[in-house]
Assembly symmetry: C2
């Protein structure tokens, strides 16, 4: 299978939602990404954990096509984050962020990862994203995530990364902030001029909008009766999206559209339980069924 | 063509958006609804205007299959509304609402309208919506709109109307408010238990979600580069939706899905210019083309 090199955070999360609470569960963008992508293709994971992240925790990645050679274990504690969600789950408050070992994270790319044809740069410092790109040779697709923090604090470095990536995955507020343009069609054009030919705008409960060459593709989110925990939904989407593209190893319009649905399907599972619990229990038949549900949700006959 | 009886407001609007300003332009829910619906079928319009609404204004409806026998002209001034939109058009402030002749509006249903097979109850007092229903005999589909004001101020009357309608078209905040349920899947089930078997939830720039029998259909809004004035988009959507259903005169799953797209297409035009200007210039070929664009925007092949 065409492998994806994925760089990002592994964390211990504590999450409180209107439906319950979970403490010290495994989280982090790279965790959600790689679990989701592993349903479609091989993942080469680059991340850092502390000494408190033991074999029991690493078990989560075992038995899946996830290569852990790039996961460094260093002295200290693993990244910890705590968040609390509002009544309707549309807003969340960060209670604390303890970067711990993540504060000094320098991605160490194993030599065997240099030839990775697909690369996903999780939401980390733009400088580190650039370092990763310097350690891979001629990838066919580089996708990246970022956030308002880097848009505000490291705009110059961020622009350097954007010049070198093919796809940017961000939410709509970030797209508006990065482009300084409230209209998303113009925002998309502006962002594509910064480098990425492909822009994927995540809209939470409203779904996803993809822009390429002035053409758009839009997918709603699956209406779900039980949404327990939105944490990681965007990273899970990214894992399904890039994972599907790597699996079919081509970037046609048809593949891109299906990749958006694959990502949306994975994200729709992720929110159905706390943390990675739903992804942990998921099987390929579940994914195929959800993909078909998305077809029913959106299909109509031309006039 | 299968006619629709449509009841609602005709108004003079003043609108300010980041892109300009327009004063005393023709607006009102029934105006947008009937213009949009008239692209698909015959409309029987029931509304009230003041003496300041002259032949020049009525000209807007002429040359279209819109029957004006139910439009009363009474002494006084026409309903006037002024609104101002925020930078990103997602919020608007009402500067004033002068009900004028609309304050004493009692829909007078011409005898010839009694057999109307499709009925659209615009956003007016629930009591008046009930009166209209008492004046029609066995319609095949009754659709209605309402708003937070009636959900809060006239809950008992509103429930009486809901029991007698087939389709409710509201926005997502109203769906949550009416059901007391933040989760839209559960909100939809709760609302369907109040009467309407069909629920259409309008989500502004994010599109539309339709619920029937626990099955959902979702359509994104068309990404548009120029959004000048969102006023009337929801009413225009309703006109396209009910208009399409009346035109094909059947309520299969396939027709309902296409009706959602027809409504979305009409709404996407409406916002491209101030007031009804874009609808005034619109032709059937534009509508067919936009419908095809929606197919490209959302289409993907099953796995």
């Amino acid at each position: 299978m065409t492998p994806i090199l994925a760089v990002g955070s592994i964390a211990f999360d504590s999450v409180k939602t209107p439906f319950g609470e979970a403490s010290r569960i495994i989280g982090g963008a790279a965790t959600y990404f790689s679990l989701a992508a592993s349903f479609f293709t091989d993942v080469r994971l680059v991340a850092v954990v502390g000494e408190d992240f033991g074999d029991a925790e690493l078990e989560l990645f075992k038995g899946r096509p996830i290569d852990l050679a790039g996961v460094q274990k260093v002295p200290g504690e693993t990244f910890r984050w705590k968040g609390e969600y509002s009544f309707d789950l549309n807003n969340r408050e960060t209670i604390y962020t303890h970067l711990n070992v993540f504060a000094d994270f320098r991605p160490a790319i194993p030599e065997a990862y240099r030839d990775s044809p697909f690369v996903f740069l999780g939401n980390i410092q733009p400088e580190l994203q650039l370092e990763v790109l310097d350690h891979v040779s001629a990838p066919r697709l580089v996708a990246m995530d970022t956030m308002n923090y880097w848009i505000e604090r490291a705009p110059a470095e961020l622009r350097k990364v954007l010049k070198r990536v093919d796809a940017l995955l961000i939410n709509d507020a970030e797209a508006r902030q990065l482009s300084g343009e409230p209209n998303l069609v113009r925002a998309a054009r502006c962002i594509r001029q910064l480098g990425p030919k492909l822009l994927v705008i995540k809209r939470g409960e409203y779904g996803v909008l993809m822009a390429r060459d002035g053409e758009f593709f839009a997918a709603p989110a699956m209406p779900l009766e039980e949404v327990f925990d939105p944490t990681g939904a965007g990273d899970t989407f990214a894992g399904g999206f890039v994972g599907y593209l790597a699996a079919c190893d081509e970037l046609s319009e048809a593949s891109l559209a299906r990749a958006i649905i694959a990502g949306s399907a994975m994200a729709s599972f992720s929110v159905e339980d706390f943390g990675v619990e739903r992804l942990r229990r998921l099987n390929h038949e579940d994914v195929r069924r959800r993909f078909a549900e998305f077809k029913r949700l959106t299909h109509f006959e031309a006039l």
